[in-house]
């Protein structure tokens, strides 16, 4: 097999434009010696066989598809590449005006299929100019390349080889001098290829297919096939995020919350229809009220679950508006919704919640949202147990209902624990070494020792006592075992 050097990556030699060069190379050793520059973009003679390559159907189909596509690859360079996601997405949104077929290649690549847009935007040059202007607007530096396949366009852009290649036949010839790193293969693969003297795309394309797949994986071969257009390369289309935003002038200036809510009602209704049509909900909603002189008042509503119900949105927004103090009457209002989030639709139950078989969650989240809208998001919480022997660390705050049911069996708490805990222990006055809390305390007999906690720096050494105060309340006290032996109140058994 080694002897048959002519078994090529390409089934038919005439498909490979650089085949002519290769034929003149006597040995592999010579091949290694020749630098990439030597074999550079000599545009191979137009090869009509490519277009009518019916002998190999898959390649032929891909070639025909490639002939009707022209991809523009954009590689964001340097600093812009680092602050990528937002920059890339903003550029993609702007690029949507050139073509609907825009794909993101995170972290720093963008692909546009521009074949159908060339005439409108003044050909390749016009398009290039327009896109560079968009890049300059966003302060993004990038390099552009045109090629019939997406991967080739991207590779050329990454290699900063500003090729404009509309002819599929000349594709491989133009790509041949590009270094292999533009394909973004793992470094280990690149090192192994470099060890056998393969540093450019042209060189790797000349390796035997079967052996290449065996040694470097079928995925790499598939990459090469997509690069050259032998295999189709479908790309996911970028969809610009759609958000709801609507503004309305009030019939007259108003500062009363009822009138504002009435003015917002049609906007909320429109938002509800907008979300209903997309089967989405919103998690955040902003209402802006515009004043004649003062800065616009902003009122942000955050929701626990994706919500699309206009009635409930009105209710929640009403609670928020009621809490708002306006600097002066508003003359316009605007509603801006956050990103629509897919919402699971469920059929409503026959029974009401609480009845036999009713779903407990059905109205639970609505109630929590109403409380949160008025009292703030931190005001409604659940509690959970943390398996820790120190009282301060034995609990934590959770989302309502997030606590896994019976994470710890109730039998594990053999020792008595108070129902009420003081989050911060309160120091007690002493008389004759005994603690006092609004009078004398009667101490229980046997102390319970709770200590250690060196692993998180909150080390404790305490003897816990139960005590009864003058009012007959049972308290939970502790005495520090360290030097001052201070007494603290930490809980109330109620």
């Amino acid at each position: 097999m080694r002897a048959r050097r002519t078994i090529d990556l390409f089934a038919r030699r005439d498909e490979c434009p650089s085949a002519r060069l290769e034929q003149s190379l006597p040995t592999r050793g010579h091949e290694r010696a020749s630098g990439p520059g030597e074999r550079s973009p000599r545009p191979a003679a137009p090869q009509p066989q490519v277009a009518r390559g019916n002998a190999t159907p898959p390649a032929g189909r891909a070639a025909r598809a490639a002939a009707t596509e022209l991809w523009l690859g954009l590689h964001l360079a340097g600093a812009a590449g680092r602050c990528a996601p937002q920059g890339l997405q903003r550029l993609a949104i702007r690029a949507l005006r050139f073509t609907p077929r825009v794909s993101l290649v995170p972290p720093d690549g963008l692909l546009l299929e521009v074949h159908a847009s060339l005439r409108l935007f003044g050909g390749v040059e016009g398009l290039q100019r327009a896109l560079r202007r968009e890049c300059a607007d966003l302060a993004i530096a990038g390099s552009l390349a045109f090629a019939p396949t997406p991967l080739a366009a991207l590779a050329a852009a990454r290699g900063e080889c500003a090729v404009v290649l509309q002819d599929a036949a000349r594709l491989i010839g133009s790509l041949a001098p590009l270094p292999l790193r533009v394909l973004r293969w793992p470094q280990e693969v690149l090192d192994r290829l470099a060890a056998i003297g393969v540093r450019t795309i042209g060189q790797v394309l000349r390796l035997p297919r079967a052996g290449f797949a065996q040694r470097f994986g079928a995925n790499r071969l598939a990459d090469l096939d997509r690069l050259t257009g032998r295999a189709p390369d479908p790309r996911e289309r970028f969809e610009a995020p759609v958000r709801f935003r609507c503004r309305r002038e009030l019939p007259c200036e108003s500062g009363s919350h009822g009138q504002l809510l009435a003015a917002l009602a049609p906007l909320i209704e429109a938002l509800g229809r907008f979300l209903e049509a997309r089967q989405c909900g919103v998690l955040a909603l902003e209402c802006r009220l515009w004043h004649r002189r003062a800065e616009p008042t902003r009122c942000v509503l955050r929701l626990a679950d994706p919500l699309a119900d206009a009635v409930r949105l009105t209710e929640l927004l009403g609670e928020r508006l009621r809490m708002l103090t306006l600097p002066e009457p508003a003359h316009a209002c605007e509603l801006r919704a956050g990103e629509p989030v897919p919402r699971a639709l469920c059929s409503s139950g026959l029974w009401q919640s609480g009845e036999h078989g009713g779903l407990p969650e059905a109205r639970g989240s609505a109630f929590i949202e109403r409380l949160r809208a008025r009292l703030g998001p931190e005001a409604v919480q659940g509690l959970a147990v943390v398996p820790d022997h120190r009282p301060e660390a034995a609990w934590r705050v959770t989302e309502p209902g997030a606590c896994a049911p019976s994470a710890i069996a109730s039998g594990e708490f053999a020792a008595a624990r108070p129902v009420w805990l003081l989050p911060v222990p309160r120091p007690l006055r002493q008389r004759g070494g005994l603690p006092r809390y609004r009078g004398a305390l009667r101490l229980g007999s046997e102390p319970e020792r709770i200590e250690t906690g060196w692993w998180d720096g909150r080390d404790i050494e305490r003897d816990y006592y139960e005590a009864v105060d003058v009012y007959g309340r049972r308290l939970w006290l502790f005495r520090e075992r360290a030097a001052p032996h201070r007494w603290f109140l930490q809980g109330v058994f109620a």
């Binding site: 919640s353 109403r370 509690l383 209902g401 009420w420």
Partner: protein
């Protein structure tokens, strides 16, 4: 004290007399309200047999507001409710148990030891007027089985609102207020004063719609945390 509310308890044992049967038909008319009406409401068992006997209907009302007036915070008024709350939160169709403005932090290991399902517990932090508003939301929303609130001041009309909300949402509402507010009028179904005893509490029913008033002493069971280690 008698557990039988006057007017309804003796009826079934009456002989099937024609005149009495006609009277019973008349009394069953929905527009007729009787003093023992509350006794027929569904209830939750309080978990204490003696207390169940004393309460109208045999337990805490399922929907409606009750007022608990401890002489001091922490004398055992919450312990009185824990068995019922444990039973409420561990039902398969349990709704929330909302605790509005608790004065201290409810200590989860103790609640778990009392048998409460923590995943049904909702702690609402509210101050001043917001406390009663939040309780009214909890009671009226229909999303809660029980709503507890610790409030210092409440006007009679606010308590009436809370009671109506609790009936609307089929929720047990519990309002903890200081002992001093026993003088004020209240629309709550039950009002009870809680005083500490050596190993239990004395519960005095100030108002009990459809039940008898009076005092009774309850002793905590031996397994109860806090019963141990006291001299």
């Amino acid at each position: 004290m008698s557990a039988d509310p006057p007017g309804c308890g003796a009826m079934p044992s009456d002989p099937p007399h024609g005149r009495a049967a006609r009277l019973e038909d008349l009394l069953a008319h929905p527009l007729l309200w009787r003093a023992g009406h509350a006794a027929r409401q569904p209830v939750w068992s309080s978990g204490f047999a003696r207390l169940d006997e004393a309460l109208p209907g045999g337990g805490w009302p399922r929907s409606g507001l009750i007022e608990v007036l401890p002489v001091r915070f922490g004398v055992g008024e919450l312990k009185l409710l824990l068995p019922a709350l444990a039973a409420l939160t561990t039902r398969p169709e349990a709704r929330w148990s909302a605790w509005v403005a608790p004065p201290l932090l409810p200590f989860t290991p103790a609640l778990l030891a009392a048998g409460i399902d923590l995943s049904r517990l909702l702690i609402v932090r509210a101050q001043g007027k917001e406390c009663l508003w939040a309780l009214e939301q909890a009671l009226g929303s229909g999303a809660c089985d029980s709503g507890l609130a610790w409030a210092r001041h409440a006007l009679p009309r606010q308590i009436r609102r809370l009671h109506l909300a609790a009936q609307r949402g089929r929720t047990l509402g519990v309002l903890f207020r200081p002992r001093a507010s026993a003088r004020e009028a209240s629309a709550a179904m039950l009002r009870l004063v809680v005083e500490p005893l050596e190993r239990g509490v004395r519960v005095t029913l100030l108002k009990s719609r459809g039940g008898a008033r009076g005092a009774l002493d309850l002793t905590w069971g031996g397994t109860y945390p806090g019963a141990r280690g006291c001299p």
